[in-house]
Symmetry: D2
Subunit: 389 residues, 4 copies
């Protein structure tokens, strides 16, 4: 086993920053795995990527991702560029025998994501997909309770991912609102996370029925875009919004559980409510990412006079990953989920096994997304069997 | 205008008790309407109804509802017997020219409920249906905010009605679990309330797609039933559960808003979570019946550094009905929603207008229920147009 | 045992209304005790008391409380007139051999309250003091957990009673702000309740140190007072506020526990936050009257991965008094605490024992209030031993 | 202005780790200030400090703090060793002309802390004290609202710092429970933070009255201590606990506001509840560190039908420091408060001004702590004037 993994990262915006932070934090807080070396960062805008590279602490800069992949000192290619670039880069990285860490959604469609999985499998490299919410300690606790049977048979999953950042009709037409770049809107951006959590906690999907909506059909063309923000003139030219503002669907799981899902960017007051609740025959759990250190837990076998949802603050050493951080009661934040995720990736490389979640999870998530889209388009229930390869 | 309304009530269990309490409370707390006279209570079990009549304060007792309706000293017939009895009684009451206050669901199916509405209209009597949750002051506040345009254009409604009282597989096969008596399960019992709140707050339904499930297919036959509780032997004979344990559906409203709905009796830890959230272009509201004195309210035009959901305790005199009760900060409970409901009924009689909600609302709710059932049975979207009469 | 108790009530404002409601509700909801007969209501303003008597359902009216007490058809005298009238009426009622139900605070000072207790004891009548918050089912649950040892040794009590109804400096000088009528301000009005809850749940006080403050020293004289509201002219004459706006104190209990207390009418945003938390060696409980159906409960022997405060909704039949009301999950409100209180009074009369809390509790509470006042005046710790009689 | 500040840090446990993280994070997330160079880390146990130095990323190691201070390549001395070492190190650092960043409490007593302040002032170096909770964005928001007058005149401050980590009577006698090393118990460890927040938000103290208690008088001697945890044998020798388990006090502020304070390690269920509430004439705020991204805010001039505490999620770019981190709705954790604190230190060095809070704040906090201790010992109110130098 090597002590180091040399990373080449493509992308340097929101997720690039979160990944960089994880690579920096790992050796200090979770040093039991190979140390990621921040070898090279890559982006098309040389000035911008050079600034990011310096700020985030990367050793070198590339402006051509093919050059990055070609470098012999790169072990792992980290892809957090916009979604439409994922596939081509991943295929090239696999062909070059590099491990791959790709942000979600894995690709713009199911077919592409399958191609990526096949390529990674054929190349025998490690592959991971960035479903970071699995790595919140409170979510790990939910998983543990379910796996140990402490919630019993699962009857219900209800998941919400609610945001409100594009409710202003004059918010400009950024790339996330264009299908050719983003693949889909709230469904792929937000719903994909909820689908992954449902698969992780409840199991595989059987069939779905969904609907999508674009409330604001046209928006001003952006005149300026910097990172995550953008400006546009309300009086200037407008373009068509080609993704969904909101998506919701119902599902049956293979194990008989029922699920409801909603992803929207039009839920006023919700900055980033990533919520789920699971009801089982012996108990229930409830999670809201805005209070990510907490899991609400109910057990029906508690004494009858003191039954109620417990607010478990998952910051004790008894909870996954928390030994690495601060004393009990001292909370962690969003970025820690990414750090934990990278820890799993490094550990998997060290143990010569696939990390979890990997491209296979990305493909299965994409199949559900595609089933929902087909269902919404054709206004009918769609079985996941339709997508068996 | 008469000072009194003579009431004859059929049924004396949970809802009969709540209605009786309302009739008793009205003259003391909301005396600006005709006083309901508790003239006669009716039930088949003479001993039981006599005991209830004495305990609740009714002046006389009947054991045949036809006799009750025939009495000349009855102005208003209050129907809270099991659902399968609603129609016949209501038709007879209308024929006798009596006003009618009928519990929800109005009938076992849409056709019956239309017949009831037509009969009441033809007879020219007042008719009301018991959707009591409209009368929580916090819900009235939500209505007011929407009507005054303070939430803007409505994008989303999400409603839940979650209970857990039949999760034990050995809980017996009570009448609420038999289709021929109850009509449906969680859908009609719980979902009907949420549908009514959605209609009240958002507007009429356009189309729905739904699914239902019965998790526990067989249950012990009840050996004893007293009011709301029942006993059965786990080792004894079992019968088939013929209603849904859980029902969920999605909807489009006529005004373009999207809705998600879930009603279940299998949500462990939820004794009676009657929840809704509404997101509009200017703000949002959130309600949970377990904290019925509160409405959470968000306005997107609050100063940008202090935006957040407010927890409004709707107990000030500024809120509907609260002048009648206690000083600010002193909460009210479930039964008060029924008292407010009866106040609307008495006021409508005094003002010679139909109360709201009335049988027309009952019919429209029933149409949505039937659309959901058809959708679940046929696994397709169902338009409310299919039920145009 | 008699089937009835004939009640004569003096006072007809906020508390008179709450007591009347309790007398009306008891036979219907908690019929296992003698039925209170609403024989006579008494007040000085004949027109007003006659209106109240009719609205609340009293059989007759008196305008002279001595005449009321003299009536042979009165078994129980209910005193909810302003505090400065309590003593004289109670002494007369005791002398006439009537049972007494007196609102808190029992009297304007400790000496008077002792005189009242002695008179009641000498007369051999039943006596009760109106500490109604003991009768919230969630508070009963806290008591039960402590009595059963489930919280272990008690270390901490922290109690708050926060209101905000006189924060406007132009709110007029109502009688509650004048020492000669009210005895004290927030201390006696609000703090008295918290002291009683602390005594009920933790035990007797050993010593206290306190401070009081009057933030607004002068207020407009009231030009109009109706029930609980009042009007005054900001430009008109002003008078001196002679009671405390806020009072806070610390205490040691006989059993070694420590307590902190705060009562204020200047806590913006708090309509009526009656809060306490108790920490013991095995667990903790937390109560807030604005969510009076809930008790938060923590046990340190829960499994280490699921420790947390549980939100117990005390509406199940397993909780005191709740069998009388509605199904699980259906909440009750403020007035129910008074109804439960009256149930205890009727049961005590039937069982020929003193109700709890009685005048003895009123005296002990008054001793603590007086110790706090002395402490605030003399700026020193004051032992309850100083008040041993 | 230099681009770098060379840091020498003494101590490497909990706070040393938090400080190290801050030095590492600053250049990436808040790069507008001089970059801290992690030049040398110092501790007595060479093996342990060498391991920490490597893990945290320090360039070199010292085992004698005098040697560290003597190094010419050190600009800033960071003191997070146990409290009894603060004074000697700080005096030496000042004498050597080094800037000083010292953890709280500044010293074991007021006299020592004054000596430290004087030395730093005389040497003309920058000095900062580690009251990190000031740097939570939600706390900054509270400060901003008060400074802008949006809460009006302040009436009440109530602060709690509740923990439960030593409730087990067999938890061993660690150094934090010995007065000669720690100075005091919960008062200095937890209460000091609350005092600082009160000074920051409300103003200077006028007088206090307090009490302290040690519930468990003797504990097992520790047989093993590793970082923050320790082991001891319940059957082995025991030693006396010489600090307080709990401390509470009341205060008057110079501006007339009233305060209540409680610090305890015996509040079962509270891992680290650092709570305060402030009530002013125009509004209120409420903060709980376990939900550190939130501030509850109330304004009494909100429309009367929608008044209520708002839950403000202080993660928008409108809130201090949040532009540095993630998109709105993505929370931060405990360590970020320390990173923000170090940012203030670096900025102050760059701007050649004293950082806030500095040793002067440490001294003023220590005066309040000493006043509380004197008050508890002498059972009387103690004016801060008694401590005027």
């Amino acid at each position: 086993m090597n002590d180091f993994v040399n990373v080449g990262m493509i992308g340097y915006k929101f997720m690039g920053k979160a990944h960089s932070n994880a690579y920096r934090a790992l050796p200090m807080f979770l040093p039991d795995v190979p140390k990621p070396r921040m070898t090279a960062i890559c982006g098309r805008d040389e000035q911008a990527v050079r600034a990011a590279g310096q700020q985030f602490g990367w050793d070198s800069v590339e402006t051509d991702w093919r050059a990055l992949i070609a470098r012999s000192d790169i072990d792992l290619v980290d892809i957090n560029a916009p979604s439409d670039a994922h596939k081509e880069i991943a295929l090239a990285a696999a062909a070059a025998g590099k491990h791959i860490f790709c942000e979600k959604p894995l690709a713009l469609n199911l077919s592409d994501s399958r191609e990526m999985l096949a390529a990674a499998q054929q190349a025998g490299v490690k592959h991971m997909v960035g479903f970071n919410y699995r790595f919140a300690p409170a979510v790990r606790l939910a998983k543990k309770l379910i796996e140990e049977g402490r919630l019993g048979r699962i009857y219900h999953f209800r998941g919400l991912f609610l945001q409100d950042w594009i409710m202003d009709p004059d918010f400009p037409l950024v790339w996330r609102l264009r299908k050719e770049v983003a693949g889909s809107g709230s469904l792929g951006d937000l719903g994909a996370h909820t689908i992954d959590l449902a698969r992780y906690l409840v199991g595989e999907f059987d069939e779905v029925v969904g609907m999508t909506e674009t409330f604001i059909k046209e928006r001003p063309m952006p005149t300026e875009m910097t990172g995550l923000t953008a400006k546009g003139s309300a009086d200037g030219p407008r373009g068509e919004v080609t993704v969904d503002d909101a998506a919701m669907f119902m599902a049956r799981f293979d194990n008989g559980a029922l699920g409801t899902f909603e992803a929207t960017r039009f839920a006023n007051g919700h900055r980033s409510t990533n919520f789920f609740e699971i009801n089982g025959s012996k108990g229930s759990v409830r999670f809201d990412f805005e209070r990510m250190n907490e899991l609400e837990v109910y057990f029906s076998d508690d004494a009858e006079d003191v039954q109620g949802f417990r607010r478990v603050l998952a910051t004790d050493a008894a909870h996954d990953y928390m030994h690495a951080w601060w004393p009990a009661g001292h909370t962690i934040g969003y970025e820690h989920t990414v750090t934990h995720e990278v820890h799993e990736l490094m550990r998997a490389i060290a143990e010569d096994r696939q990390p979890v979640p990997n491209f296979s999870d990305g493909v299965k998530c994409q199949a559900v997304l595609e089933a929902v889209e087909r269902s919404a388009a054709e206004k009918r229930w769609v079985s996941l069997r339709e997508f068996d390869s």
